[in-house]
């Protein structure tokens, strides 16, 4: 079961932009290595629908991770994310500062989804923070919303529906399929 904490709906109503940690959110944190040392990760395609729903309804999406790999670039293409919304920076707070200065967005208009220690500071400042069901205890402790899905199993799909329902936009998105 998803857990929405106090005021989660009120907080989600204000969101205009969603920033997503990649590993542990769109993946389940598993790393595969071949015998030749080539690394792979499984990315959720449930989240393709979630990212599409957010962007179709006018909410921006970016990925924020320490280093952008070619796998991340490939997934940005598959998810339909503009390449400039792939942010590779270890200092996550500084990257969000820069984004707010460039765009004028405020903390309360930003949703951030993360699962680990490195995400806590950005989760605390963002208006609506999300952690996956299998995120770290600390991330789940401060999140406004904990998805029923674990990482890589549709976290973004779920947070997208929660935000769009809070904003009264979900039915409009469903209208695409009628």
């Amino acid at each position: 079961m998803a857990i929405a904490k106090a005021d989660a709906i009120e907080k989600a109503k204000k969101i205009k932009f969603v920033i997503l940690d990649i590993h542990g959110i769109m993946t389940d944190n598993t790393l595969f290595y071949t015998q030749d040392g080539v690394k792979s990760e499984a990315f959720s395609l449930h989240d393709r629908m979630g990212i599409k729903a957010l962007m179709d309804e006018g909410i921006g999406v970016s990925f924020l991770t320490t280093k952008i790999s070619r796998a991340d670039e490939q997934m940005a293409k598959i998810y339909g994310l503009p390449l400039e919304n792939l942010w590779g920076q270890g200092a996550k707070m500084a990257r969000v500062d820069q984004f707010e200065q460039e765009t004028g967005y405020k903390d309360e208009e930003i949703c951030y989804a993360g699962d680990e220690m490195i995400d806590l500071a950005v989760m605390k400042r963002s208006g609506f923070s999300v952690a996956p069901a299998d995120g770290s205890q600390e991330a789940r402790g401060i999140a406004d919303y904990i998805t029923s899905a674990g990482g890589g199993k549709g976290v973004v799909r779920e947070l997208a529906q929660f935000i769009l329902e809070a904003q009264g936009k979900w039915d409009n998105f469903l209208g695409e399929f009628k």
Partner: protein, 185 residues
């Protein structure tokens, strides 16, 4: 959770199926893609789901291998491996394609089954006689289904629903006997 289905009703509906449709991701796959550091992609399918598709065609039920979600043509790779490429359609509007097939085969929507998982399947789930949802389908899809598989997408959901249909028709035991003796291709 909270979606009790009437099994007699499901069997009655399954008995009528002449055409069974499904998409690719979330039903035949676990809805993910494995990407390596060079950007190469892999897609996981469930081996015995193929036996499900083949069991239906061997028993004169047509398959509509509808594909709106493939990224690299993985749906076609799978359809070709199962020799179902003539029943494979890479399209953007699966509801429209199903309309076309219903006309072409001169059947009614009561004769159509469909395995769905996402909200994009809602229009089809509303129309078909025998709508099926995967165990991990969205609630909106489960609500519309006559039957919910115990297996998840990419984990045997298709194999399960094919057996359910053939059992409802009373054809399963005969089919198993035939396969046991003759094998299948």
């Amino acid at each position: 959770m909270g979606f009790e289905k009437d099994m007699n009703n499901a069997q009655e509906r399954a008995r009528k199926v002449k055409l069974f449709g499904h998409d690719i991701h979330g039903t035949l796959t676990a809805n993910n893609v494995i990407v390596d550091i060079e950007g190469n992609r892999q897609y996981g399918f469930w081996h015995m789901d193929g036996f499900g598709d083949l069991s239906l065609t061997a028993n004169d039920i047509k398959i509509a291998f509808l594909d709106t979600t493939s990224i690299d043509g993985e749906g076609l790779f799978r359809a070709k491996e199962l020799k179902l490429d003539k029943l494979y359609f890479s399209i953007t509007d699966k509801a429209a394609k199903l309309d076309e097939l219903v006309k072409e085969f001169n059947i009614s929507y009561d004769d159509v089954g469909f395995l769905g998982c996402e909200v994009s399947d809602i229009p089809i789930m509303r129309k078909v006689g025998f709508g099926v949802a995967t165990a991990d389908a969205r609630d909106e899809v489960k609500a519309l289904a006559s039957y919910i598989t115990t297996n998840q997408g990419g984990r045997g959901a298709m194999r399960e629903v094919c057996e359910f249909i053939l059992r409802a028709m009373g054809k399963w035991d005969g089919w198993v006997e035939k396969v046991t003796k003759m094998g299948y291709k």
